[in-house]
């Protein structure tokens, strides 16, 4: 079949002596409609037998419903527990910065201020809010990070014990909270997500959490 195709690009085109007058317009043979038509003519060949048989098998098979994760969550570790925050709320993750204590303030949650590129941001303790004890000894190879989180234009900074990463999930993958859960973490979670490695991630309810922090700070 290939003998039917005039391979002009090898004779007068860029792979030949480049004497084709169309080169002035198209610069390279791959932009030329003659070259494109020759490529498309390859599809005029008869289909190989095994190709069609393979396709017939493939079409007959029921397509596995692919679970498309349309939501993404930033997963991190606090103590021994894993939590998730919506990715779009995360502003930045950075190395820990010095925390400046605010004089004459003893809020259990508001621990001080952190300077982020010259801007003072409120630093809160997510460990205390969620009732998680800090891991006694950090596992080797993991490092604590500071995470900046945004809600209604207000930035909040908190420390996490480890960044796990961004996890995509579908809304139907979220499971309800166990009814036996009575810790503070349950109060601020809207569901749990079981990851492939059997890790359970608590999805934090941002609105309730921030509402509580704001109230606690105003006291």
């Amino acid at each position: 079949m290939s003998t039917d195709i005039r391979t002009c690009w090898k004779e007068i085109g860029v792979w030949g002596d480049a004497s084709c007058e169309k080169l002035e317009e198209h610069i390279h043979c791959r932009n030329c409609p003659v070259f494109a038509a020759a490529g498309q003519s390859l599809l005029d060949r008869p289909a190989p037998d095994h190709y069609l048989a393979e396709w017939a098998d493939d079409l007959a098979r029921v397509k596995e419903q692919q679970r498309t994760g349309d939501q993404s969550v930033f997963v991190f570790r606090l103590g021994d527990e894993y939590f998730g925050l919506p990715v779009r709320r995360i502003v930045e993750i950075m190395d820990p910065q010095p925390i400046r204590k605010i004089p004459h303030r003893k809020s259990p949650l508001l621990k001080g201020l952190v300077s982020i590129r010259g801007q003072l941001q409120l630093y809160i303790s997510l460990h205390d809010l969620l009732g998680v004890t800090r891991a006694a000894a950090a596992a080797p190879g993991t490092r604590a990070r500071m995470c900046i989180f945004e809600q209604d234009g207000q930035h909040w900074v908190f420390t996490i014990d480890e960044c796990i990463g961004i996890h995509r999930y579908a809304a139907e993958d979220v499971q309800p909270l166990p009814t036996t859960l009575d810790k503070a973490a349950g109060k601020y979670s809207e569901g749990v997500l079981r990851q492939d490695d059997a890790r359970t991630v608590g999805l934090l309810d941002v609105a309730t959490m921030i509402n509580h922090i704001s109230k606690s700070i105003r006291k």
Partner: protein
């Protein structure tokens, strides 16, 4: 609007991509016994039995050639009972898509009564291209037999 171009008997046709579900190669079909020649057969599409209409037979009066560019276009066919059914259209030389503006299409002036699926035409650098309206592919009695009256429960 985006169209896929197809060519039969030297003439080019365009089919709007909006209603297309999937385009698959021309695999072996199980023929319907005693059906009109333009009903190419049944396709096992993901466990569903989908009737395939031979557009080449309708337009050129011959069977579609077994080429790599001969394909089955699966469309959502809006039937008379206001539901959509999966229908395959067998056509040749499906290798490219093209975008045409909707107002560029004009009435060709003559509508063959036995080919109500032929729509408006548009002028292109390669000639005049006619739109295929897949909604009118099946005559009412065949549509009822193949689609609406069929019990699709296994």
């Amino acid at each position: 609007m985006l169209f896929i171009k197809l060519e039969t008997a030297g003439q080019e046709y365009a089919l709007a991509v909006r209603s297309i579900v999937e385009i698959v190669p021309y695999v072996a079909l199980r023929p319907y016994a005693d059906a009109p020649a333009y009903v190419a057969g049944m396709l096992n599409f993901r466990g569903r039995v989908v009737p395939v209409i031979d557009l080449v037979r309708l337009l050129a009066g011959r069977a579609a050639a077994q080429r790599l560019s001969t394909r089955i276009i699966l469309i959502d066919y809006p039937a008379a009972d206001h539901r959509t059914y999966l229908v395959g259209i067998l056509a040749e030389a499906i290798t490219s898509t093209h975008s045409y503006e909707n107002p560029a299409f004009v009435d060709p002036g003559y509508a063959p009564p036995d080919k109500p699926f032929l729509g408006k035409v548009v002028c292109d650098t390669e000639g005049i291209i006619q739109r295929i309206e897949p909604t009118n592919l099946l005559p009412p009695d065949l549509e009822a037999q193949l689609l609406t009256r069929r019990d699709t429960r296994p």
